[in-house]
Symmetry: C2
Subunit: 149 residues, 2 copies
């Protein structure tokens, strides 16, 4: 078997993604479908809010951050999906033209008691903008296959 499995991970292991620059068009496209609030879909109205201009939907920032992580393909062979997430914090807005990247760190590893072919890895996923500011943090559980099963 190639790729990373549950047994190949250790606490403190860290994965860092490349950057991605987000355009106003992408922000508007996502928000019109999923989060049609004035500060996400209308630059002029957004300018009159305390955000001072257009900001991405938090669900967009979250999806973009995980898209960067999944495109690393570290879990390509082993991923069985996620049961859930904890402590999502949107700390700063994502604005048009921002370049974001993400870092994911292993914080816990728990083999399944009931299913010996898998385990749950808990990871902290942090998203940063071009100034190095942390804009989003979330703890995500990932269900991963074990080796040799």
């Amino acid at each position: 078997m190639s790729g990373i499995y549950f047994d190949d991970l250790h606490i403190g292991q860290r994965f860092v993604t490349p950057g991605m620059t987000i355009s106003a068009a992408q922000i508007l496209d996502f928000a019109r479908q999923y989060d049609p609030q004035p500060f996400h879909i209308d630059a002029e109205a957004a300018g009159r809010t305390e955000f001072g201009g257009l900001i991405a939907s938090g669900f967009h920032t979250l999806s973009l951050s995980f898209s960067l992580f999944f495109r690393l393909n570290v879990f390509a062979a082993a991923n069985l999906g996620s049961p859930g997430m904890e402590e999502i914090r949107w700390l700063k807005p994502l604005r048009p033209g921002d370049t974001i990247h993400a870092a994911a760190e292993v914080v816990a590893l728990k083999p399944s008691q009931s299913k010996p072919d898998r385990g749950i890895v808990t990871m902290r996923h942090d998203t940063f903008n071009q100034d190095g500011a942390l804009i989003l943090t979330v703890t995500c559980l990932h269900r991963l296959k074990r080796r040799d099963t």
Copy 2:
């Protein structure tokens, strides 16, 4: 002022959305952009996984659920964005052709100590499929304007 503000809410208050039917095309479109894992982007490969077929990205289910809630426009006048979410649980997959709806219930109300013009409402957001099965649950904080400020 029209619409609902922080002061108009009470614990136990519940908002229920209309339904929305999700197609395979929508699932593929979202997943190819944000969550390109085999069980989200490739029906044939998905059929060989324990999911037994294509399932929506959890980030898609989450975004769809909140899109249904935001389209109720209950927070249209008062919403100042969300600081975060807790306890996201993906309990069952969202599959092509499923019709989902969401229900949101007020679980806590906390006026801001530092900013008298606003408060934080904690809401539990549940998403159900056409069989009435709970497929997603999450607790979300919403920052809302107060009346008369």
